[in-house]
Symmetry: C2
Subunit: 340 residues, 2 copies
């Protein structure tokens, strides 16, 4: 439990635990943190033969604490999903030294033998970023100050987090006050705070989304990472609660150019971009009648390179809105449309 907090909030800088993991596939979280919030990463903790190298300083626990690190982030998934005992020994030592221990693993940190005691002695916290904060209220629907843009996907895993991060960066580069608001684990680690929206009890999903983007300066933009899809047979409830609670002024439709069916649900054909936009606007109007679509953000990495520009241009012509690939072209065109 992360009781008494309005939303999850992490302490930085991070020391990233890599252990003796040698496969970069299992170190995605750590790699993402260095890419997106390298300024808040103090270093990495590695041992064994040829562990993955994030390209940041190697630090001992003691050195990291001396440099001001506040959290030991488990930045790897162990092969097979079970953390070996010698990893826990080191993580316990980190807790003894007062570091917060931050985990996105399925098991709760408090159930690891001796870890809660170590944290109590050290004075740090155990933070399970899969676990929502306690006492989330029911959504009020009250209009909040400040402005919000939400990523809506045709499916899961089409680039919503990447699009939101790129759009927030573009807005900041344009001189606009903007904050990335995280709704999933990796996003929460990158932002240092957020709401694991899909783990919230259904009655409170829109309330959780309201907590995630509170009142703000009238000119400030919250750029909210999406989750799931309104067309997803498993996860649409999460998406609708997030949409209602975010009460976005604007939506960006996110898609993978080569995806035809819901990933893992092969009987479910994906909606068209226009269908996704229209349903998002229809449902979003309930809590923000002024909602509008400001563009499309497409992962074109699996298209032949020669087809990319034509694909994006065709969508722009069909919709009259900017269409970008957040990696290949960046999100500046959508950022400009947002503030024009």
């Amino acid at each position: 439990m992360n009781a008494g907090t309005a939303r999850l909030s992490l302490r930085t800088p991070y020391l990233i635990f890599i252990g003796n993991q040698t496969d970069p596939t299992y170190a995605k979280t750590g790699l993402g943190l260095v890419q997106w919030c390298g300024d808040r990463v103090a270093g990495q903790l590695r041992f064994g033969e040829k562990p993955v190298d994030l390209g940041v300083p190697d630090l001992t626990l003691e050195a990291a604490v001396a440099l001001g690190a506040r959290s030991l982030v488990i930045g790897v998934a162990p092969v097979g999903g079970v953390i070996p005992g010698d990893w826990w020994d080191i993580i316990r030592q980190g807790a003894e030294l007062g570091l917060d221990i931050v985990s996105g693993l399925h098991g709760r940190l408090a159930t690891v033998p001796g870890l809660a005691d170590a944290a109590q002695r050290g004075g740090g916290r155990l933070v399970d970023i899969r676990v929502p904060p306690a006492n989330i209220p029911v959504g009020t629907g009250r209009k909040r100050s400040g402005q919000r843009v939400l990523m809506l996907g045709t499916d899961c895993a089409v680039g919503k987090k990447y699009s939101a991060l790129a759009l927030a960066a573009s807005l900041q580069a344009l001189g606009v006050k903007a904050t990335f608001r995280a709704t999933g684990q990796t996003g929460i680690l990158i932002a240092g705070e957020g709401m694991p929206i899909d783990a919230v009890v259904a009655d409170f999903v829109s309330g959780a989304a309201e907590l995630l983007s509170p009142d703000n300066d009238p000119a400030h933009w919250d750029v909210i990472e999406g989750q799931g899809s309104l067309f997803h047979p498993g996860y649409a409830a999460v998406t609708l609660g997030l949409l209602h609670g975010s009460q976005p002024d604007a939506i960006v439709i996110c898609h993978d150019a080569t995806r035809r069916v819901v990933s893992g649900w092969p009987d479910y054909v994906l909606p068209t971009l226009a269908e996704c936009r229209d349903l998002g606007l229809t449902l979003g109007r309930r809590t923000n009648p002024a909602i509008r679509c400001v563009g499309f953000s497409i992962n074109t990495s699996r298209l032949p390179a020669a087809e990319r520009a034509g694909y994006l241009r065709r969508i722009e012509e069909e919709t009259g809105l900017p269409c970008v690939d957040p990696i290949a072209t960046g999100c500046e065109a959508i950022g400009r449309r947002l503030i024009e």
Copy 2:
């Protein structure tokens, strides 16, 4: 935790605990049980001066067990919300005798001192009907056999449970195999099983709805109690997950004739009946393309009696579908439309 069960399942007959509660307002659950499933109520357990009388036999714990009662249902809410100690003494005795203890209270039964031990000695269970079963899967979207009709409301508390119970009864009277499927606490007590859908973690809401109405005979109808409203700023996520997971062949729109705004959310004007129907069909088509609306079920109890018939007839003329008041006219017209 109600681990290892696909959905909550209660053992009947019930002994209904009334204690010394004298105010019928606080005995609504018990009164509802006698009204809707009186054949599964063995009796009531009362003491003190002038306690509420459900009109069923007064039984001691021992007499109830001798008559075959399987569950002691806490059928009252105590004034102030806190169960007095002498009530718990008697409930513990019931557990010692092997009765399941069934509660819809906020606090967990397992936290009541001595109650878990008493249940273990007696061999019965502690069942918190607010707590979903463990291990609910993500919704699959797989088409199930059998037929389903779901109540969709313009708001909470407009008569969805009552409509579903009345419609199931009408179908049975017409010779159709039909089962009421409960999604809320009172409904679960009435049905003896069900799914507290609003307490399920958001990622699993549609999966929970799938468990609630499993494969069945092709001619069998599940009549599914609804929850919330697709237009509710707090609870729409619950409603959408229930809609997707139920994959209903038919929907009934439920409404209170005098309600103008969302109850408790005065800034939110209710949708029209046509808007509610159209959005339900649009979203429901995702998991059942053959979904259709079969009628409207309206609570007209707050209309002047002279206006009722005209109100219902006007909706029938506008929509071409049956429009009933589930109490004043019953749901037979909708049942006939469902099976024609």
